[in-house]
Each structure stands twice: as C-alpha cells, then as structure tokens.
C-alpha cells in the first residue's frame, strides 16, 4: 500500500489499541502497590538461604538462572549470526590499512590513562555482582569499552594482532560453555540443572552467593569478548573490507558514511553515496587514524 494508505490505516488502528491498552491498565494494581508475591519470595530466598545481597543477581543467576542461560546464548547466537552476516562476501577482500593519519597526543594519552581504570572498574563490577548493582553483563560491557579505548588511542592494527577474531570467538565460546557447564555440574552434584551447589558463604561477603559469582565471571568473559567481536565486525565493514576490483585509493575516506561500507557502494551505479568520497568531514579522521599505527 502507499505511504498515505498505510498512515491512514495506522491512524485508525492506533487509537483503538490505545483505548484497549488504557482499559487494560485500569485492571492493574495501582502504581506502587504492595502486591508483589513473587518478588517477596525472591527477596526472602536471596537474603535467607542463598546469602546474596543483590537480590536481582540472585534472581538472574540462581533462582531463574535458566532465563539467563537462554539470554547468554541469545547473545552468543547473535554474535555468531552477526559474524556470519558480516563475513566478506564473494568479491570482497580485506585490504591493508594504509593512509592513516595522526592521533592527537592528548587523545592517545587519555586513552592510555583511562584504560587501566576502565579495566579495573569492569573487573570490580563483575566481581561484585552478588553484592551491588552490576554483574557479568554490565562488567563485561565495561571491559569491552576499555578495549576500545585502545582503538581510540590509535592502535587498531595492534589490537587486531593482539586479539584476532578467532581468539575472541574462542574466548566467547568458553565463557558461554562455562555457564552451561556450571549448570551441568549442578545437575551432577546437586541433582538439578543450574542448582546453586557451592557453599553460599556469609551474607554481604565478596565470596558469597555460591555459584552466582562464578556464573557472573563466565558471563563477564563471554560478554566482553562478544562486544569486542561485534564492534570489530562492524569496524571491519567500515575500514577493512573492499570490493576486489576497487583501487585502494579512496580507502581512508569512508568513515563518515553512516552505513560504513560506502566506498564499496560508490562503485555501484545504484547508490548515490559518492558524496562521502568527495567531502571528507572532520570527524572522519578519528576512525581513519585508528586504522593504522606503525
């Protein structure tokens, strides 16, 4: 249907949906009510027998651990999926990262200074998931951010050498497998899948919560590797992949094109995206710079 018809249909349907949703919310307990039976039970179990101060972590990694197992593998599957979708297509190949510019010394300094801080924060957040807000997912993302500080500091080539995608995939797989393996260990030792089979320790200690910190560690490793892998997949599209026929000349100008692979498109008659190749915008130098530091 045309844009117009589509919009008209939406304008007809959306208010009906809104009215129905309004009627439905009238049936909910009022905002801020005292009716939370499951929540109350979860708090009692976490603060009691499980000695896990952060109840949310107890729900995520212990009481409803299988949800998080599924979530971990959604992440894992999506990352494999993204790697598969962003693999070089026939007719594309990786080119050397030439023509890099400079990174401002201050940028580099800031990157290096922030790196240890970020890594420390990431590890702290992972390790304290059972005590305070945080855990494997949050800390893993912080760790991955630290990794990308290196990239901003202009070390993309070194970064790729240090952790090529193959290694990252293996690390991510190990993290995800560890989660499932801890679950199976619970089955063997405790008689139920994902059972919290370790001593829970004393409440509010760093080593409390039984398997919760262990699972958080597994998730932290997997998430950090996954995020680096994801972002590097997208960065490769921006700075590394080229159509084979294409001369290397225009390779440093791609960065500002929102959809990354613009220089590939510029070759194709269909795409009107050659603007990117003619007007390098200021911000482009950041990514282009990151492509090569020797």
């Amino acid at each position: 249907m045309s844009r117009r018809v589509r919009l008209v249909l939406f304008v007809v349907v959306a208010p009906v949906f809104a009215v129905l949703f309004f009627l439905a919310t009238r049936g909910l307990p009022g905002f801020g009510s005292e009716f939370h039976p499951y929540g109350d039970r979860a708090v009692a179990v976490a603060t009691g027998q499980r000695a896990t101060a952060n109840v949310v972590s107890s729900v995520n990694f212990d009481q409803r651990g299988v949800d998080t197992l599924g979530e971990e593998f959604i992440l894992f599957g999506s990352v494999i999926g993204t790697v598969v979708l962003l693999r070089p297509a026939p007719g594309e190949r990786e080119v050397g990262r030439r023509g890099a510019g400079r990174v401002l010394p201050t940028t580099r300094l800031a990157g290096y200074l922030l790196l240890p801080v970020t890594v420390l924060v990431g590890l702290y957040v992972i390790a304290h998931g059972q005590l305070s807000p945080g855990g494997g997912f949050q800390g893993g993302v912080v760790l991955a951010t630290g990794w990308h500080l290196l990239y901003i500091a202009g070390r993309y080539a070194a970064l790729r050498r240090a952790a090529p995608p193959t290694v990252l995939e293996i690390v991510e797989s190990i993290g995800a497998a560890a989660f499932a393996a801890i679950g199976l260990a619970g089955l063997v030792i405790g008689g139920a899948f994902l059972v919290n089979f370790l001593p829970v320790g004393s409440f509010n200690d760093l080593l409390s919560g039984g398997t919760v910190p262990l699972l958080n560690g597994a998730v932290g490793v997997a998430v950090a590797a996954a995020i680096v892998l994801l972002l590097s997949g997208f960065l490769e599209q921006a700075v590394v992949l080229r159509r084979t026929e294409e001369p290397l000349a225009g390779s440093s100008i791609i960065a500002e094109e929102p959809l990354a692979g613009s220089s590939i498109i510029a070759e194709e008659p269909l795409a009107g995206s050659s603007i990117g190749a003619e007007e390098p915008i200021a911000g482009s130098s950041i990514i282009a710079d990151g492509t090569e530091q020797r």
Binding site: M1, R6, L9, F10, V16, F17, L20, F21, L23, A24, T25, R26, G27, L28, P29, H36, P37, Y38, R41, A42, V45, V59, D62, Q63, R64, G65, V66, D67, L69, G70, F73, I74, F76, G77, S78, I80, G81, T82, V84, L85, R87, A89, P90, E169, E172, S173, I174, A176, A177, A181, G183, L184, G186, L187, G191, A192, F193, L194, V195, N196
Partner: protein, 605 residues
C-alpha cells in the same frame, strides 16, 4: 521413579548449547567431516532423549525444577520444565528434523567453518526449550533464542539481495511480535504476580474476565501467532521461506511455525483457561484459521517461485491447524498432532527437493524450469509423491492427521471444517503438483511471467560440480517422505496423539504435576481410528488436486467464457495479493491491526 529421566529435559537444552560452543570455537580448525559428525551426533543424542521422554510421559508427566527450587506449599521462586506427551513429541520432531537438515547440509554448503552448524544447534536448543518450559518468561527467552538464530540463518546468503530483505522483514516483525508478548507478560504479571503457567492458572482461578486479562492474553498470543503465521501476522513467512537456505526452510515450515500454535495452546490451557473459557477462544481461533487457510491456499496457487509456493502452502496448512486447534477438544487436536508430524515430513521433503533443483539447475522458478527436471529421476518421483501426500493421499501421515482432525471436528459439531480441509488440501497439493509436472514432466505451457518475486535469479548454494546429485542430499528427502508414509501406517499413533491432546487440555493435571508433585496421568484410551469415509475424502482431495494442477497447466486451453468467470471470481484475491508488498511498514500496520482485532475478538465472544 528414576532420577535420570527428571534430568533429561535440561540435558536436551544443555547438550546442543554446549555442542554449539564447541563448534563455534573449534570449527575453523576441524575438518568438515568432524563438524558434521559432531553436530549430527549431538542432535541424535537429543533425539534419543526426546524419545525416552515420549515413552515416560505415557504414564506420568516429567517435571524438573531448575535450580532445585521444588515448590513448598505450591509456590516456588524457580523455573520449571513440565514435559507431557505433546512437549516430548515436539522435541522428538524438532530433533528429527534438525538431524535431517544437518545430513542434507553435508554436501549443501561448502564454506561453513562450523558457524552454520552451531546456529542450527542453537536453533534446536531454543525450540526444544520452548516446547518443554512451564514458565511464561522463560518461554519468551527461548522464543527469542530461536528467533535471533533464525534471523541470521535466513540471511545466511549475504551475497544476494533477497535473503537480506527477507531476513530483515522476518526479524523486525517477529521481534515486534515478541515484544507484544512481553507487554502481555507484564500485564499478566501485574495481575497475578506470578510467571509459571501453573501458578498463573491457580491465581486466575475464580477471577473475572476483564480488559486486563483479555488484552494481556491477546498480547501474549500475538507473539505466538506471528511465529505461527496466522493472518494477518503471516506476511513475513513467505518472505523468509523464499530466501532462507532450503534445509532451514524445512525447520521453519516443519516445526517453528507449529511451535507458535503450540505456544497458544499451551499457555491457554496451562495458564489462562480459568479466565478464558473455551467458548470464548474457539470462535476467534476458528475465524483466524478459516481466513488463514483460504488466503494461504489462494496465494499458493498464484506463485511461480517454488519455495514461495511451498511457503504459502504452509500458511494454508496453518489455517487448517488453527481450525483443528480451535475445537479445543482432544480428538481434533490429536488429529492435528498427527497432521503436524505428517506435514513436517512431507513439506520438509518438498523443500529439500526445491533445494536440489536450486543446486542442479540454478533456479527455483516454475516457468523457467519448464521441463528442466526430466533427468532428475529420484527428485522427480519424490516431488510428485510429495505433492500427492500434501493433498492428503491415503495412507500418508498427512492424510491420517487430516481425517482424524476432520472426524474430531465433525463430532464436535463443526462438520463444515471437512469441506475446508478438502479444499485447502486440494488447492495446495494441486499447486505443488502443477509445478512438479511442469518442471519434472515438461507438462503444460510456460505460464506468464509477470511476478515480481521470481525464483529465477537465486544463486546456487554450492559450488561443487553439480552434474550428479550426491546421494547424501537425496537420502534425507527419501527418508522424510518414507517417514511421512510410515506415520500413516503406525498402528498406535492415533491413540498416542489422542492421549497427548488429552494431556495438553488438562490444566488441573498440569498444575498438580508442577506444584503438588502429582505426576501420574490416566492411562491412554484407544482412540477412534480412520474410517472408510476418511479414505474417500482423502482420495477426493487428491482427485481435486489433480484437477487443480491440470487447470493450472492448461488454463490457456479453457474456453474464453470460463476464463472470464475465473477472472471475476479471483478479483478479491488480487487485492489480497497486493497486500503482500514486502514492505515492513505495511506489515507493522497489519500486526497492530491484528492485535487490536484479537483483543476485541476475545472480548466480544
């Protein structure tokens, strides 16, 4: 009771997950044979476990509280897997189909590095988890796991434009559907304060049916019905099926779509039935079913892209499944269960045949392939037999399921469903036969080629010399067809399916098993088997299918007057056809339209 069986449900999920991580980590270092062997082996393990569960569930439900949080006084903080015959049967079907797809893939893709196999195993785990779980939010998680993997599998052929668009349409619409489900879960949680099916059921018992539960249920169902491709949520299906690799299509059509319907049946029975009596749900499901069946069959008839044709035939069959499900009565649902098994086998074989054609001839377009399949003897026989089986030729499993469902429906007072079933079987089977005869026998004249979505510019999925079709690719085709035939001949299948349907429709027993530890189920009672009139109806639909095929092949030889009449008759369907625009925005509007209609439908009945 033996503790090992209690451990099985979680193993069925954990084993393929672990295998997937191993393949993803080591795939690029392993020889191809090892990748195939490892993935098929883990799949067979899941299959064996599922069969064990299927046997055990004859006498009792298998309940595992994950994390060891067995309920105290009927309440728990954990997540439970509750396996009855339907869940175990679905897990068996899933594992069998994934095995077939993996064997077929052996010679299908060249460069895989284990990714494709890892994705298939994750898909397997997601589907099995969804079939076994007894928790609303956990169902959403597994639903999303199968979704996220399915999107990537659909777009696997990145060098072509169509798979990418098909995958995007699939991903956006299915994600939006899943978020609808999650909104519904939020509403239901607000009311009940629980997430387990059984707990929700007990809290809802005795409550009145107000807008909150109606909209909550409608929203939860929306996600399932999007996956289940009910009109008007079905648009993504043809787009995704037409472009996904053929072995993936087998899984999509054979079981993923059916899992959507299972989600509706399970959540209704185990969780929502106290506030949504069968009389309220029945007309809604049946209306959606009739609409889906008619639109699917009509759209199937006008396709020349072979995989798109098969995809719309799936929509037509989903319509019939919805009607049978809508009876909410064991005999019809037992028939439905058999029908789903038969359909999965037959449709799987047909999709794999399309894949063979794509590899051997570089096309899946009916017009372009006119007469091109004459020298593919095995594929030819399989495809044509598959077409006949799809039209419910006795004694195929499709026929047995169809006739059992028809009998169940007519005993429940819905004898009109018989006409619908015969019609839809005839039209979808006829369309497949028409295409098969044109391609493999060179029958008829070349049809006009005005379609926008044609199968002619698809790329091959392999690069090896395709002079000979490898036996390993044909083996799953033959095996699936043979299974489809055997399913119709297995003596106890009708009884087993009837028993499964009875367990599915027993909310009290489900809740007692999950929360009170009362797991025994009543012994199966022998179900009514097929009748002579069922055989006649099966033969009738095959005959009609042949007529449909003949008319399709020789339409230009019909008298002018008849063709005019046909043009007028098909006028409404042209409008329906233009609605299948491939445009995401359109699909979103239809989805919103569907949710609204579903809510109002549940409220009005």
């Amino acid at each position: 009771m033996s503790p090992t069986v209690e451990a099985l449900p979680s193993l069925l999920v954990a084993v393929p997950l672990l295998a997937a991580t191993v393949l993803a980590a080591s795939g690029r270092f392993l020889p191809r044979l090892a990748i195939d062997a490892a993935s098929i082996l883990s799949c067979l393990l899941v299959l064996a476990g599922s069969v064990m569960l299927l046997v055990t569930t004859g006498s009792r439900r298998v309940v595992s509280w994950l994390g060891g949080y067995s309920p105290v006084h009927g309440s728990s903080v954990g997540v439970v897997f509750v396996v009855d015959r339907v869940g175990a049967g679905l897990a068996t079907l899933i594992a069998a189909l994934v095995t077939a797809a993996l064997i077929y893939t052996w010679r299908y893709f060249d460069e895989v590095e284990g990714y494709f196999h890892a994705l298939l195993l994750l898909f397997l785990a997601g589907m099995v988890g969804f079939a076994l779980t007894g928790d609303l939010f956990d169902a959403f998680v597994f639903f999303e796991l199968m979704g996220a993997v399915a999107y990537a599998l659909t777009g696997y052929k990145i060098e072509e434009p169509k798979p990418l668009q098909g995958a995007l349409n699939f991903a956006v619409i299915n994600s939006l559907g899943a978020y609808c489900s999650l909104l519904g879960i939020g509403l239901i949680y607000g009311r009940t304060g629980e997430l387990g099916f059984a707990q929700i059921q007990r809290v809802l018992a005795g409550q009145r049916t107000d807008w909150l539960v109606l909209m909550g249920i409608a929203l939860v169902f929306t996600g399932f019905l999007v996956k289940g491709a009910a009109v008007p949520f079905h648009f993504w299906l043809a787009d995704a099926h037409a472009v996904a690799p053929s072995p993936v299509c087998v899984l999509f059509s054979g079981v993923m779509v059916e899992l959507g319907l299972y989600g509706v049946a399970r959540t209704w029975s185990a969780a929502f039935s106290p506030v949504l009596p069968a009389e309220r749900l029945r007309p809604v499901l049946m209306a959606a079913g009739v609409l889906t069946a008619v639109i699917g069959a009509a759209m199937c008839l006008v396709q020349s892209h072979l995989k798109r044709l098969l995809a719309f035939s799936t929509v037509g069959h989903v319509g019939m499944f919805l009607v049978a499900l809508g009876a909410l009565e064991p005999a019809a649902i037992g028939g439905l269960a058999v029908y789903v098994l038969g359909h999965a086998a037959v449709k799987g074989a047909l999709f794999l045949c399309a894949g063979v054609l794509l590899n051997a001839r570089g096309s899946v377009d009916e017009a372009e392939l006119h007469g091109q399949g004459r020298d593919l003897p095995v594929t030819r026989i399989c495809f044509l037999v598959g077409g006949l089986a799809l039209a419910a030729l006795p004694p195929f499993g499709t026929w047995l399921g169809k006739t059992l469902a028809e009998d169940g429906l007519s005993h429940a007072g819905f004898s009109w469903a018989g006409y619908l079933f015969v019609g839809v079987s005839a039209v979808t089977g006829g369309a497949v036969l028409r295409a098969g005869m044109r391609i493999f026998l060179g029958a008829g004249t070349s049809p006009d080629t005005q379609d926008d979505t044609r199968g002619s510019d698809e790329n091959r999925e392999t690069t090896y010399d395709v002079g000979r079709i490898p036996v390993i690719m044909l083996a799953p085709v033959v095996a699936l067809l043979a299974t489809g035939l055997i399913l119709g001949l297995v003596p106890g299948l009708a009884t087993l399916a009837h028993d499964a349907a009875r367990q599915l429709l027993d909310p009290t027993g489900y809740a007692a098993a999950a929360l009170d530890g009362i797991r025994a189920v009543p012994p199966p009672t022998p179900a009514e088997s097929w009748t002579a009139s069922g055989v006649l109806l099966g033969l009738l639909s095959v005959l009609l299918a042949l007529v449909v095929a003949a008319v399709g092949l020789y339409a230009d030889r019909l008298p002018q007057l008849l063709r005019r009449g046909a043009d007028v008759l098909t006028l409404p369907f042209r409008a329906v056809r233009t609605a299948h625009s491939g445009h995401l925005g359109d699909y979103v509007v239809w989805l919103l339209f569907g949710v609204t209609l579903l809510t109002i439908g549940l409220a009005a009945t």
